[in-house]
Subunit: 292 residues, 2 copies
């Protein structure tokens, strides 16, 4: 079994991006600038955002962190989005989800200028993806595609089963892997909570991707001998043996599935670091899309 080492691959991408920044500097061009908006004090969200800011520093991108209290009114957040849309120094920005319940996430997502929407959540970018127009691909699915490409995993004509149809992972990934692109051209089946005979469906997969957020959900009996298995799940589970009291758990029962899969991505260290790498790639792309 070959480990799909997202940590190493994301590091490769960061090195490439460092090079791109140095070259831009040498050419006297603008350095990419990412802004992140964080609302509240959710532990996971704070970690994600701080990792994004750290990645910017590592690569040499400029970054700005904007923080609001949990109680921030929706209109203040919308006004900030508008200001970031108009701020020419900011090339791309994200509003870290989830947001507090009194704020309409879809409203915020739609308020972001699609040309600065480096998370790729705006409906316009999702639509561009459907018809294969230039735009931003959502960061996590784009990270999965980078893994597939850099691990040289054959996709054309392969049966790919994706478990989970979320707007930010499963659904867009099903579109991206089914398109006539490389990687792509898979025969994609999108499975979800309503799927009957899920184990049987999964056993048809040459490439099995789990994105449901249920630790250990994918067991050995759901995996075809020699399949490529990619684990997008990242759930915090209690772990008193750790200083912080928790660890990240994937959707795949790693130990047993590793005996059947030909390739497998671990959690942590698989798709997770790739999401941040994709966000950085998107931020660089934001400049190209605008010809900066």
């Amino acid at each position: 079994m070959i480990l799909i080492d997202g940590k190493r691959i994301s590091q490769e991408i960061k090195e490439e991006l460092k090079g791109a920044v140095l070259q831009r500097k040498a050419e006297g061009r603008k350095i990419p600038h990412l802004a992140a908006v964080l609302v509240g004090n959710d532990g996971a969200s704070m970690t994600y955002v701080s990792n994004k800011v750290k990645a910017c520093e590592e690569i040499g991108f400029e970054s700005t962190l904007i923080r609001y209290d949990d109680s921030v009114p929706e209109e203040i957040l919308l006004a900030k989005v508008q200001a970031l849309n108009e701020d020419r120094s900011i090339d791309g920005f994200i509003v870290q989800l989830p947001l507090p319940k009194h704020i309409d996430e879809l409203k915020i997502t739609q308020a972001i200028d699609p040309l600065k929407d480096v998370d790729g959540f705006h409906p316009r970018n999702l639509g561009n993806m459907v018809v294969n127009l230039p735009g931003f691909l959502p960061a996590t699915p784009a990270g999965v595609l980078e893994l597939i490409q850099r691990m040289d995993i054959a996709t054309e004509g392969k049966n790919c089963v994706i478990i989970g149809r979320s707007n930010i992972v499963g659904m867009p990934l099903s579109i991206m892997l089914g398109r006539n692109t490389k990687p792509g051209n898979c025969t994609v089946t999108l499975a979800h909570s309503k799927t009957e005979n899920l184990a049987e469906v999964c056993r048809n997969a040459d490439i099995l991707i789990a994105a449901i957020g249920q630790p250990g959900f994918v067991t050995q009996d759901m995996v075809k001998e020699g399949a490529v298995v990619i684990d997008v799940g990242t759930t915090r589970v209690e772990d008193p043996s750790r200083m912080k009291g928790w660890r990240l758990a994937g959707d795949v029962a790693f130990d047993e599935v590793s005996k059947k899969a030909s390739m497998l991505s671990p959690v942590p260290g698989g798709v997770g670091p790739m999401t941040i790498a994709s966000l950085m790639l998107n931020t660089l792309k934001a400049m190209d899309l605008k010809g900066k």
Copy 2:
């Protein structure tokens, strides 16, 4: 085998729309107004557009047909799209595809105001579909969904295989049938030219939808006993026995598949008339979306 009679169902929808028009009239509200732009003299396109105009007349919608010569420059067409976007008397409009080679179809499609895009081809509307936001669903897939709903075909948890991944039929249909909606909640597999073992994939389908434009492509051996088969293909094939010299042929070998399917939609008289019915439903919806 039960015939899925799109002609009858589309007639039902038209009757309902007639009623809606009469009610709007009684309430002194605006009558829906659809405009269609036709470029050139392609026989099939002329037929489609004239059927759309006829449907408007039948229902009581206002309609406007705008024709251009094959040689119309792209900028003239773009200016017309802009004028239609701004014309408050027009509620929705379509630009009949395909367009002559010197015109960029995607450019035209993207120039249409998404709120008037009753064909549902604008990336913004496709993106809205992905995240389940209000918008226009593309007319042909929406027609297939109406057939499924009005024939009371169970979809939740069913295996649905769609053959063909075009931007206007297969791809959007795969999204629509996989969403958590009713109809919807299918386990959808999107098959295409690169799919291996296509017959085997198709035999897994409780609902099999063919949308590739290859007459007679789906044969008996590709169909599970008792499956629902929906034929979206409409290709003109030569037929010297007909006055006009051609007939419409579907993707499904009707005679042999009818022996295995529990339900089957014919060509003509299946999905075809539903496309126009959906367009009319979208035109009425255009007024609701704008609160007219």
